[in-house]
């Protein structure tokens, strides 16, 4: 009886299992194996090179540049987009006029495809007559080539990412806020708690499961977003705005160095897995579930 039930369960799991193996697990393992081989070129087949591809990475200045950029990109986008999402969610959770419109406006960036978003921002940033330039022009500030300057390019693409992500995370916070028991608010009001105190001691702790979920997503997105780089800067000027995934794409599909690209993939996977595990096992203990 139990065996039959187990067989039944496995049968139900089979479709998802097949898809996961075919498109997630097998490619990951194949990449790991490829990363120990040289790149096959025409008549030259792939040969075992051990850790050569990883050694090449250590000596690749673009990789280190991309890694540092990505670290800054993550350090800026994760807290900014989560903070902004929380503020927006708290605001549109109140009973205010035009609430539906506000919610929609905040969510719009999420619905738009990243490539379209990046094209819009390309014209915001255009020196001379772009939107930003027109605004700074009113204050008599000098013209600034945001995407064409090594000091500002990374910041400029980071802003686009925050703008795009905050609306998405807001939806999760909003849903969580709506599910909070209204009697908590009433109780707090009777006790005479200020709004800030209520948020700090009641709402924020109760939102922690959502924050954990959003944070995991934000970390993944910080190394997953690449479309806007392709449209806005193509990693330039002189790699000032290159991120790891963009570098990986260039190595894999522009240089056709598949061996090295596989090694880069493994490093990216390892970093992501570590961060996700830390989040789940360390942060999860501090999260209060209802």
């Amino acid at each position: 009886m139990q065996a039959r039930q187990a067989a039944h369960a496995y049968l139900l799991l089979l479709p998802a299992f097949v898809l996961l193996v075919a498109f997630t697990h097998y490619p990951a393992v194949a990449s790991l194996i490829d990363s120990f081989y040289s790149t096959p070129k025409g008549a030259r087949p792939a040969v075992w090179v051990g850790l050569d591809n990883y050694q090449q990475m250590v000596g690749d200045p673009v990789f280190w540049k991309a890694a540092t950029n990505n670290l800054w990109f993550a350090l800026a986008t994760i807290p900014c987009s989560i903070g902004l999402a929380l503020v927006m969610a708290l605001w549109v959770n109140e009973r205010i006029a035009g609430r539906g419109f506000l919610r929609m406006a905040y969510f719009t960036p999420t619905v738009l495809p990243m490539v379209a978003v990046a094209n819009i921002w390309l014209f915001f940033y255009t020196p001379g007559y772009g939107l930003l330039e027109q605004i700074t022009g009113w204050f008599g500030l000098p013209s600034q080539n945001w995407l064409g300057d090594q000091r500002t390019a990374l910041g400029a693409v980071t802003v686009v990412a925050v703008w795009k992500e905050a609306g998405f995370f807001m939806i999760f916070y909003l849903a969580a806020l709506q599910s909070l028991n209204p009697s908590l608010r009433e109780a707090a009001a009777i006790e005479g708690a200020s709004r800030w105190y209520f948020f700090r001691r009641v709402q924020w702790p109760l939102l922690m499961p959502t924050t954990l979920f959003v944070m995991v997503n934000a970390v993944i997105n910080a190394v997953r977003m690449v479309d806007h780089i392709v449209v806005l800067t193509r990693g330039g000027p002189d790699n000032a705005s290159t991120l790891l995934l963009f570098h990986l794409y260039e190595v894999g599909f522009r240089y056709w160095d598949t061996g090295y690209a596989a090694a880069l993939t493994m490093v990216l996977l390892a970093v992501l897995a570590t961060v996700a595990l830390v989040q789940f096992f360390v942060l999860d203990r501090k999260v209060h579930y209802q």
């Binding site: 025409g42 008549a43 995407l147 300057d149 090594q150 193509r234 000027p237 002189d238």
Partner: protein
């Protein structure tokens, strides 16, 4: 799935016709990857060509597959090649030749050139376009949609600045001088109109190559295994570009390729360097009288060529390859090349095309269309080496570092040279 159904239908039709013994002429299908690189109803034009070719050549069916940008197309072509099922033919960048040879993906066109007519056809292309299509004594690509860099200028702004609108600058000194006169500042000293703009995002190497050629250097050798980035003349050419930005007549930092035509339409810039492929775009959108000129001369005139060639893939069957060769030849006949040039703005690929009645008339009505052709005798092959994308990237990074001021011109080119030497080591 659709193709499968289609194949089944073909098979069924063939079976049905068996009793009548009509199987002598089997259908040859050619899959044809085509990148959509310029605006306009380009896919419709290609579809028409394919239909027309099928009509004239029963037994051959060309199936165009629109694969995205040039970059997307080569990604798809090479990936499917690795999977053992490449297209029969594809239009890809002429600079991808070495990459395709290194991947052992294509066959030389010479394999199919048999008759005197074929020979004459292969000899009919402009020499400048063949430079990027030949290596090691073999021809690997058939020029199809090709371009060069030209100078577009706003005639009204020329008049306003006291310059002769019918005399565009012909030398570096004249261009720098005109750019200075065309730069306008407001009361606060902020530039409202720049004299000149040379785009430097994405692929600055292509436009910079123009400057390098004008200063007397072809940066890559014919075998694609040595480069001359740290040549003093190359550094000098880069310094000329940097000086234009330092003098404030050219925007500082990186100039976006995509918004450059828009800057020109908005009169934010009076002169711009960009591809001839933008001609139809400028003609449609410029609300003022504009001119097109050859790039100015440094030590001499010069421009790189650009654009795409036909390639024939190795893994196709001999019958398919023959049919693809026939198709490429058919597509580049003078009449068709002339029509193609008028429809798109690309340079027609042979002298004979410019001698057709249609293109002669078009050129007489709209002289800017002929500038690119007149520049061809000065044009050199677009920069291309083995491991092309990586070597090009080294040059691009160097150029951008110098233009944004993080490195001097000499240092940037020295670094790019070192990186290129390292990459090209194994191809010597």
């Amino acid at each position: 799935m659709q193709r499968k159904t289609f194949n089944h239908l073909i098979a069924a039709a063939a079976l049905a016709s068996l009793p009548f013994g009509a199987l002598a002429q089997a259908q040859t299908e050619i899959s044809f990857f085509y990148p959509v690189a310029v605006g306009g109803p380009i896919t419709k034009i290609i579809d028409e060509y394919a239909t027309e070719f099928a009509k004239e050549n029963p037994g051959v069916k060309v199936t165009p597959i629109y694969a995205g940008s040039y970059q997307d197309t080569i990604v798809k072509a090479l990936t499917s090649n690795k999977a053992g099922n490449p297209p029969v033919t594809s239009v890809l960048l002429s600079t991808d030749m070495f990459t395709l040879i290194d991947e052992d993906a294509i066959v030389p066109i010479d394999n199919f050139v048999k008759t005197a007519d074929d020979q004459a056809w292969l000899g009919s292309f402009y020499k400048a376009f063949m430079l990027n299509s030949q290596s090691g004594g073999k021809t690997w690509g058939v020029p199809f949609q090709r371009s060069t860099v030209v100078l577009y200028y706003n005639k009204e702004l020329f008049k306003a600045a006291g310059l002769d609108p019918n005399k565009p600058p012909t030398t570096w000194a004249e261009m720098a001088d005109a750019a200075k006169k065309l730069t306008v500042k407001d009361a606060a000293g902020k530039v409202t109109q720049y004299g000149l703009q040379i785009p430097s995002s994405g692929f600055p190497y292509w436009l910079f190559q123009g400057l390098a050629i004008q200063n007397g250097v072809a940066m890559a050798n014919d075998n694609g295994n040595a480069v001359k980035f740290d040549d003093p003349a190359v550094i000098e050419a880069l310094q000329y570009w940097i000086d234009l930005t330092k003098q404030g007549v050219h925007p500082s930092g990186i100039v976006e390729w995509g918004t450059t035509p828009k800057d020109f339409f908005e009169k934010k810039v009076a002169m711009m360097w960009t591809t001839t492929g933008n001609l139809t775009n400028v003609r449609t959108n410029a609300k003022f009288d504009f001119g097109v000129a050859m790039l100015p001369a440094g030590k001499k005139r010069g421009s790189p060529t650009g654009g795409g060639n036909f390639y024939i893939f190795k893994k196709a069957t001999p019958a398919q390859q023959e049919a693809a060769f026939k198709f490429a030849k058919w597509m580049t006949q003078p009449e068709r090349a002339a029509k193609w040039s008028m429809d798109t703005g690309y340079v027609a690929i042979s002298e004979a095309a410019y001698n057709t009645a249609a293109l002669k008339k078009y050129g007489a009505d709209f002289p800017p269309a002929l500038v690119a052709r007149d520049q061809l005798p000065f044009a050199l092959a677009e920069f291309s080496t083995h491991d092309n994308q990586r070597v090009t990237k080294a040059l691009n990074d160097g150029l951008q570092a110098a233009l944004t001021g993080t490195k001097t011109a000499a240092q940037a080119m020295k670094d790019a040279q070192a990186e290129a030497d390292r990459l090209l080591r194994s191809y010597k």
